[in-house]
């Protein structure tokens, strides 16, 4: 009992001592708090007032675009720009006035800045001026105290080393418009660009990257005291196109001053090796904003430089449509390899006469010979026997007049008419319409891309889809993998018959494309010429066997040539269109010859240098001996 009581007093004494110690510590904390909160209040209140952290996003560097060997097609060039962070300026209006005094801007630019300041969230800086020159930089630097919130930042603008040469394929970028900037705040960042056409558009999301940020602590004057945190963001991925820059340059060079388009692809997987459209334009102008006089010039040019004629130019395919007609006829049985039609030089249907080319009478010929000499009458009759719906169905299989689901933006599907289409458009479909369908005239309108796809499919027997992109960030895209394309839904025996015809076109002295035969040993090309009228010749003109060269340029026929090589193991397919180039054999076939020779000698499709390795060779120059 006593012990218990003694214990208890002992405990109480100790507990009170401990408690007193803890109370003392509480008192010390209270004293310290008083010191902090009351005695030093002024100091800390000021610090709190000066304390302001602002965060702004930083545009990521756009990914570069290269050709299949790593040659840069679209790159970035450093430059300086002035940005403005409203949140960092105590009096934004005064700062802007000071800035305008130092760096004069147009009224439109000022209005744009005012608009952006109202639209953008606080962490997105507003662009004051891009491409600062040294006097601007110096003026801003010297006047920093008067310009709180103005930031000079290094940015990148887009450059295109090949310039107009690959403009349509590579495309160009532009500043995001206000709607885009509202939908995705990141796009409002100065320096962000959106791909508008070509690969820049097709692979825009891969190229864009993710923005970084800079967090700065600023004092009461808006001067940056220190960087709290920063992150450079993730640059966009490198996109490698299937294109071979050397081939592309040669294509543009070969087209020269002529208006036209060239599409060359790997017949086994649809990779586009060259895609040219002339005349072209300088894509780097879009990054800064196209000067209005240049823009006006483009708009008024009858040759439409901005239009990618390879994918969006629609032309009657002319005789290059005949392989499709032959395949359709073979499929439905209207034609066999031994079917003979007589060509007296014309076909009379009712009271209308359809002439063969140059009124030539080819006599009794089969399908291979008809392709070789491009006999129109044979195909008039074949088309009549087959019917347009079956022809259109085969065209669909060959990739003509359909959406190819290619990665190339702004493509036109074109048109291969059907009876249903005619009914929908209130067109009375007469037999004569079917007749001209047999030689790719009339309503049929196709792009050079569609014709290249047709010839690639015909050559390889694979349903290849044309595509620009080969690798994104070093990863080979599924389309470019071996076995990426399904077999074509056409009887291989039928393909063989047509291929024989196309072989003879180029390699038989009587063939329309004999002049374009390859001069390198042991390799043959197969192809088809086409001369598509754009002008309804009058009866008088037809009667006197007119000479196209005497016609006005815009009334001359379009010249086509489609081809593939090697004939026995097709790898390269090409379609060449020369607008108003008269005969395909005359103007288009030599270009195909040059490009095919280059391709066979350099074999770009057979080689692939991984992206990690440096570009292996300088842009190849055209072997002088190949120039026709």
């Amino acid at each position: 009992m006593r012990r218990q009581a003694k214990n208890r007093t002992g405990f109480s004494r100790r507990a009170l001592l401990i408690g007193a110690g803890q109370a003392a510590i509480f008192a010390a904390i209270t004293t310290r708090l008083y010191h902090l909160q009351v005695s030093e209040h002024g100091k800390y209140a000021l610090m709190a007032k000066q304390n302001s952290i602002s965060e702004r996003l930083v545009a990521p560097e756009r990914g570069i675009i290269t050709d299949r060997f790593g040659a840069i097609l679209a790159g970035n060039q450093q430059h300086w720009r002035a940005l403005f962070m409203k949140a960092m300026a105590p009096e934004p209006d005064v700062v802007l006035e000071n800035f305008y005094r130092l760096v004069p801007l147009s009224d439109e630019e000022k209005a744009r800045i005012t608009q952006d300041l109202a639209d953008h969230p606080g962490y997105i800086p507003v662009l004051l001026k891009d491409w600062l020159d040294w006097p601007d930089m110096a003026a801003i630097e010297v006047n920093t105290p008067n310009l709180p919130g103005v930031i000079v930042e290094e940015g990148a603008s887009r450059t295109y080393p090949l310039g107009p040469v690959a403009a349509h394929a590579v495309g160009y970028v532009g500043r995001p418009n206000q709607q885009e900037a509202k939908q995705d705040a990141v796009l409002a960042l100065p320096g962000m660009r959106v791909g508008r056409t070509g690969a820049e558009d097709a692979d825009d999301l891969s190229l864009r990257g993710d923005p970084g940020f800079v967090q700065t602590e600023t004092n009461v004057h808006g001067e940056v005291m220190r960087v709290v945190a920063q992150d450079a963001g993730t640059p966009g991925q490198t996109v490698a196109l299937g294109m071979d820059a050397g081939l592309q340059q040669l294509a543009v060079q070969s087209l020269g001053a002529q208006t036209g388009a060239v599409v060359m692809m790997d017949a086994t997987n649809g990779e586009i090796l060259a895609m040219a459209s002339t005349p072209s334009f300088d894509p780097s102008l879009f990054d800064k904003g196209v000067p209005s006089d240049v823009w006006k010039g483009w708009m008024e040019d009858p040759k439409h430089p901005l239009l990618n004629k390879a994918t969006a130019g629609l032309f009657a395919p002319g005789s290059t449509f005949k392989p499709t007609v032959a395949l359709a006829a073979l499929k439905c049985g209207a034609l066999t390899p031994t079917t003979i039609h007589n060509c007296p030089g014309f076909l009379k249907l009712g009271d209308h006469i359809f002439w063969c080319d140059n009124h030539d009478a080819h006599g009794n010929i089969n399908v291979v010979s008809a392709l070789k000499v491009s006999c129109d009458v044979f195909f008039y009759k074949t088309a009549l026997d087959t019917g347009i719906d079956r022809i259109a169905a085969m065209a669909t299989i060959m990739g003509q007049g359909v959406d190819l689901n290619s990665d190339i933006p702004h493509t036109q599907a074109g048109l291969v008419p059907t009876l249903e289409w005619a009914r929908r458009h209130g067109i009375h479909w007469a037999q004569g319409n079917t007749v001209v369908q047999g030689i790719g005239q009339g309503y049929t309108q196709l792009t050079p891309m569609a014709q290249a796809t047709m010839i690639a499919r015909l050559a390889s027997g694979l349903a290849v889809t044309p595509h620009l992109t080969r690798r994104i960030g070093g990863t080979l895209q599924p389309d470019s993998l071996p076995g990426g394309a399904a077999p074509l839904d056409v009887d291989p025996a039928h393909l063989a018959v047509v291929r024989q015809g196309l072989f003879e076109v180029v390699n038989d002295p009587a063939g329309t494309g004999y002049g374009a035969r390859l001069t390198i040993p042991n390799v043959q090309m197969a192809g088809k010429t086409g001369t598509a009228q754009v002008h309804n010749n009058t009866a008088a003109e037809k009667a006197k066997n007119f000479n196209d060269m005497t016609m006005a340029w815009e009334q001359r026929p379009n010249a086509w040539f489609v081809a593939y090589a090697p004939a026995d193991a097709p790898r390269y397919a090409i379609a060449v269109l020369i607008e108003h180039g008269n005969y395909g054999a005359q103007t288009a076939a030599p270009i195909a010859h040059d490009l095919m020779t280059y391709a066979l000698l350099h074999d770009p499709a057979g080689r692939d240098t991984p992206l990690a390795n440096p570009p292996p060779e300088p842009p190849p120059t055209v072997p002088t001996g190949l120039k026709a």
């Binding site: 214990n7 405990f11 109370a23 509480f26 708090l33 209040h41 610090m47 304390n51 952290i53 945190a229």
Partner: protein
Amino acid sequence: MIEHASLSYRRPFRERSFGLARKLMRVNWLFVLCVCALAGVGYAALYSAAGGSPQPYAQSQLIRFCGALVLMICIAMVDIRFIAKLSWPAWIFGILLLIAVMKFGHVGLGAKRWMTVGGVEVQPSELMKLFLAMALGHYFKRATPEQTGNLLFVMPAILAILVPMGLILKEPNLGTAVITGTIGATVMLGAGVRWWWFALVVVVIAVSAPVIYHHLHAYQKARIDIFLNPGSDPLGAGYNIIQSKIALGSGGFFGQGYLHGTQNQLNFLPEKQTDFVFTIVAEEFGFFGSVAVLGLLMMIVALAYYTALSCSHVYGRLVALGIATNFFLYCFVNLSMVMGLIPVGGVPLPLISYGGSALTAVMLGFGVLMSIHVHRDVEFAEPGDF
């Protein structure tokens, strides 16, 4: 005998157990009121931390608190002698939990630990502090002064402290390990262990501090370094200390007004709803508000001491002392950290900070404390006590 009679006069409940209603009446309702008042302050602070919204902190914390309050009252109804019997099993259970957390746990490592531990998840180290106080209380409840002066007798108690301390250090959680050791030491001191032994230990630690520092984890060293020179690491923990001090200092005497603290509303302190919650009160209610909260915290500690002093049995006294010290240490470490007096340690301000782990552990301890208070006059019927 007279003493005995007077004791029996002052003890209306000498019987071994008594009714629930009587028990409820004997709960220290002033204590419960203080606890609820602090929870109210917490609600207001978390409401402000969310920029004037019950989401996402204030409301869920209130729900947790209500659950914990019911738990506390329920434990208060349990006979303290039954709880005493559970002391050592609880200690073993705590050790097993610490081992389990080491093997399977997802305790945030490094500086990440001070982020929210969600839900009603409980950190074993938080529970261990309570279990340790209970185990030591049980060990010393019949100790004579001769025994408490005998190092051999005290040795098991020291081991009972060092084992969990070691496990918590391994987690690694230096702050909680030190707190655990301090609680154990305080309970032993209360039990009558010679005070100069503790003085000796303190001296030994002070001498060996450089050696210990050498073996600390890099992030623990960094914390001490930052504490010694806050400007050295402006982007890390030093930043928090500077911003925290600015928040306190800018409060002034009456504060910037509720929901008007610039440091709070402009988010200069990341995760301020957890460890730095006091800065919200201090900035928006000033020194006046800080002292009011400090007063409430001190009141709770004082009432815990009142329970300890008014308790007739040694077990209750020692455990109450441990619980009071635990709560005091929470407040001390958190407030010192917020004011930049000790290195940042990831210790929340109990009842106010957002998060379920510390809240549950603290309220569990308060349940035991209230049970001691309700059963302060019961007799532990071991032979030789009377």
